[in-house]
């Protein structure tokens, strides 16, 4: 695993905007960054990332049924009691899931370590599945990279296949928060792949969803029988339409049982079930009796996204914190496994890399890399492409 500086493609910004990638730059700061790429060997990809990703997924899926039956675990995960039966049913009916992403620490050697799961609303999908794929094709065409360069990125193929295979109610709706261009970009990309798989797709802004006699309806008051929601389950179960969810006959993607896995509480539960697994870091629920956060530990809210409200203390005792709006719940503690540090020659600065590893259905589907100047990866962290080349 190497970080290699490379010239940017001449017109990539114009191209990005042409294909609807409107958030390639955020507040004047780059989000998509092709001033460098990461290079992996095929063995690193297959042995250290692809296989462990599928193993971690299987380990996680094996726990879902047990959690749905355990009052103790449901309580630890802070799942509202009103939703316990709904989640149990969602799992036992075998409601299909589409995708998820593991965030891993990996530096090219040794086992990748699981930082957390994004199993409910993972984004950076378009950047991974489409834009970095096109980047590689372009750089091969431009003669910058050799013909035999490859990429661990079957996301587009696998999501399209999944949409064709899952039995979805038609028309099938997609929703995201109005005015959030990043989320809308992700949803647009999913709709695009769904159309190619033959799904009759509709978009509705989250705020426009209606409740008509305990059935979700669109703006024409037509029933929404199937819905992809890029909005966290833990918010939905707290909002005004929470009661409609359990009464309505709407098939949700991701399904309700994903609530158990998009929760940082799954990290201590995995560690309890699989102690000393090479891809897991020690993790515990924080309680009133927990000692103050010590050196070499990380503290994360049960529900948080994009690194928000994460505190960590490095082994040398330096405290690093990310601000955020999630400071209203319970926390887990996880042993610190620092992200690998690389030299960003373009910016003449140190940079830390985190690796996202995708799952579609039950198979590993590629990786994406996020870089930040700090040890905590955030929504502003840059996205860099990668290649496989031996």
């Amino acid at each position: 695993m190497k970080r290699i500086s490379v010239a940017e493609r001449a017109n990539w910004r114009a191209y990005a905007e042409e294909v609807g990638f409107n958030f390639h730059t955020f507040d004047g700061e780059p989000y998509w960054d092709e001033t460098a790429y990461y290079q992996f060997s095929l063995q690193q990809i297959e042995d250290d990332l692809e296989a462990p990703t599928e193993e971690l997924h299987q380990m996680t899926m094996d726990m879902v049924g047990d959690i749905t039956r355990s009052e103790e675990m449901l309580t630890q995960l802070n799942i509202p009691r009103d939703f316990w039966s709904y989640i149990w049913n969602s799992w036992n009916k075998g409601e299909p899931h589409l995708y998820g992403r593991f965030d891993l620490v990996y530096d090219g050697t040794g086992p990748a370590k699981l930082l957390e799961l994004n199993y409910d609303t993972p984004t950076s999908l378009f950047e991974t599945g489409f834009f970095q794929w096109v980047w590689l094709e372009d750089q091969i065409k431009n003669g910058v990279l050799p013909e035999r360069a490859d990429q661990f990125n079957s996301l587009h193929d696998k999501i399209e296949q999944a949409f064709a295979q899952i039995n979805l109610p038609q028309p099938f709706y997609f929703t995201s928060v109005r005015d959030n261009i990043e989320d809308r970009g992700t949803v647009n990309y999913l709709m695009d792949m769904a159309v190619q798989a033959g799904v009759d797709v509709r978009y509705i802004a989250l705020e426009d969803i209606g409740d008509l006699n305990e059935q979700f309806v669109d703006l024409d008051n037509q029933p929404i029988k199937g819905l992809f929601k890029l909005y966290p389950w833990e918010f939905m179960v707290q909002e005004d339409f929470a009661r409609t969810i359990t009464a309505a006959n709407t098939q949700m993607i991701e399904p309700a049982w994903k609530m158990l896995l998009s929760n940082k509480g799954i990290l201590p539960l995995l560690w309890q079930r699989y102690p000393d697994h090479p891809n897991l870091l020690p993790a515990f629920f924080e309680t009133a009796a927990s000692e103050p956060l010590g050196a070499g530990w990380v503290r994360k809210p049960l529900f948080s996204r994009e690194g928000a409200n994460v505190d960590l203390i490095t082994t040398s005792g330096e405290k690093i914190s990310a601000a955020g709006p999630y400071a209203d719940g319970n926390y887990v503690r996880q042993a610190l496994h620092a992200l690998p540090k690389y030299r960003d020659e373009y910016r003449n600065a140190d940079t830390y890399a985190m690796l996202g590893s995708w799952i579609v259905g039950d198979s590993a589907a590629g990786i994406c890399i996020r870089e930040d100047e700090s040890l905590i990866t955030k929504d502003t962290s840059r996205f860099l492409p990668h290649i496989i080349l031996d």
Partner: protein, 193 residues
Amino acid sequence: MKRSKKAALVLMVPVATLLLAGCGEEREQAMVFTDPSECSAAALNSAAQCEADYVAAQTLHPQVAPKYLNKEECETDFGAGQCETAPQQTTSGGSVFMPMMMGYLAGQMMNRGGSNFQQPAAAGAGAGSNVPTQPLYKSRDDRGTFRTATNKPVAGGIGPITLKPSQVKPQVGQVVRRGGFGQQAATRNSFGG
């Protein structure tokens, strides 16, 4: 190869969007009558279906009919003596007025030969039809034309018609609640991860 064989977009590029927008909806057969006896006489639907559709339209009428806070305004639009009191009240207890139902629209169930009698649908669009059953109205200045509650003209008289079902979806606005999701969008600005 560890990467997708293709990564194509069809919706996110402008050209393809135009292609999709052209997808047409089929026109369907429907019928307009002022009461169920006319409907039975026309033998396009069974008598039982005619009655069920009429009742469904009557039930929908107070929900979808346009509402007015005084009778004069209602009569300005629908004609003298053509308005009635709605079951709803204003929050301060005042009366609400609406036009009278002048007819109804329903999907056509039977084949032209009239042999395929079906059981009556309880309400809404009957089996085999996507046309939503609903009440129809007539405006003051155009007494010949049947219109939906949203003022869409559908027929110049009773009998069979064809239309696109999506153009006559009843708007049951009063009982739909919206905005029940997204409250936390105001306090948290990122929802993906």
